[in-house]
Amino acid sequence: MINSQNISLVVNGEPVSASVPNRTNLVDFLRNQLGLTGSHVGCEHGVCGACTLEVNGSMIRGCLMLAVQADGAEITTVEGFTSRDKAAQLQRSFQKNNALQCGYCTPGMLASALEYVEAGGGADRAAIRQHLSGNYCRCTGYQSIVDAVVDVIEQGAKQ
């Protein structure tokens, strides 16, 4: 059994080459081999959303993709989001609205919220809740998270 592969990919704008075991999922590779611990590992079966990150422009579950599948891919984690306008605004808005307590869900929550805001989603609370329904938060009750996303959208509309 050949149980590892060499992969080359771009992570947060930087080219990376590594040998990864076949069984290692993408988020474990990013955390354990590259030291990018921003993406969290929660349920490991695609339910909690804590590992949500961007692969080739789409938000995906980092625990449901193998690292070997990321060969040739362009990946952005929460560490790389900050250079994007809307991400920085969301981070400030999360802080201002107390949209986090323990912070475990926050990187994934930011990733999903960023996808919604960048796609031009409206300040409709029900639509925001639906978009974030795949990200669990056990602290805030979601109210303040939705507030934070609404604030960013409404500020964007004023500008």
């Binding site: 059994m1 050949i2 149980n3 592969q5 075991p21 076949n22 069984r23 290692t24 999922n25 474990d28 490991e44 079966h45 695609g46 959303g49 949500t52 789409s58 938000m59 995906i60 579950r61 625990c63 449901l64 993709m65 193998l66 070997v68 599948q69 999903s112 996808e115 809740r129 639906q130 978009h131 329904s133 795949g134 990200n135």
Partner: protein, 283 residues
């Protein structure tokens, strides 16, 4: 948990993939979107020796119109179906149902072929394909065959696919004028697996004809119910005696309880989703 170790191959064309699948000596598993297989592997419910990753096969990624059908490559992702003008125009049942399938991050990876091959009784796709009278095109090294959706789903995670076969494409007849569709599901949270759901297609030109009513998340597989369809066919709207009969027939389905709802709850919810889907069609 983490997946057990496995060998990994990512073929770059369909022929190479079929050659890898033709090996009867080992435990070979096809990896499509991975949104169900990866959790199963992480739970060690699945421990294949060889994983054949289809994500490099561009010849399985397409949505096109041909011969009165919409043909969809099996590696087409849910997000691509959602955004496709062809699907929006010709397969409105998909447009209604897709937002209920898990969450955006899952739909960005999950594929139509993967969900069809898995045959999860609580998943939407098998019910949609039966309601749409779709044809599933299976390929192996030994050739190609077409299987009607109604004959494809045989039981709990069981399909008509044979060893060495994979789903190459799915073909959906373009509906005629006057064909309406309805979809309704009840889940604990948006995007969760349904506790009960139904997909309906029907000709609404008076009187109603060609009704197809398919329930999911109520039994061991997506279940078409001709006894309920018979109450719809031939009337102008479903009410009174026919609705009462339809409710009785729904109660006779072979209900299976699961973690989300027991049999009595599913019996009740199946009637609720049916009434709501019908109300949406005839509103």
């Amino acid at each position: 948990m983490k997946a057990a170790d496995f060998d990994y191959q990512r073929p770059s064309n369909l022929e190479a993939a079929l050659d890898l699948l033709d090996d009867e000596s080992g435990d070979v598993q096809v990896l499509a979107g991975g949104q169900s297989l990866m959790p199963m592997m992480n739970f060690r419910l699945a421990q294949p020796e060889l994983l054949v990753d289809l994500n490099g096969l561009e010849d399985l990624q397409f949505i096109r119109e041909a011969d009165g059908h919409i043909q969809i490559g099996s590696m087409t992702r849910y997000c691509e179906l959602e955004n496709s003008p062809l699907i929006q125009q010709h397969v409105p049942l998909f447009s209604k149902a897709l937002p209920h399938i898990a969450h955006v991050a899952i739909r960005n990876r999950g594929t139509i072929g993967g969900s069809t091959a898995l045959a999860d009784p609580a998943a939407e796709m098998p019910a949609l394909l039966i309601a749409l009278d779709a044809i599933i095109v299976a390929r192996s090294r030994h050739g190609e065959r077409s299987i009607k959706a109604a004959e494809f789903f045989l039981g709990l995670y069981e399909t008509a696919l044979e060893m060495g076969e994979l789903i190459a494409s799915i073909s959906i007849p373009i509906s005629e004028a006057g064909c309406e569709c309805g979809f309704y599901e009840l889940a604990r949270r948006h995007g969760d697996y349904a506790m009960a759901g139904v997909a309906i297609t029907v000709q609404t030109t008076n009187p109603i004809s060609e009704a197809r009513v398919v329930f999911f998340a109520v039994s061991d597989r997506a279940t078409r119910t001709e006894a309920v369809e018979n109450q719809l066919n031939g009337v102008s709207t479903l009410a009174g005696e026919e609705m009462k009969n339809a409710m009785e027939e729904i109660g006779k389905l072979d209900f299976h309880g699961d973690l989300n709802a027991d049999i009595a709850t599913k019996q009740h919810l199946a009637k609720v989703v049916f009434k709501r889907a019908i109300a949406e069609i005839f509103s």
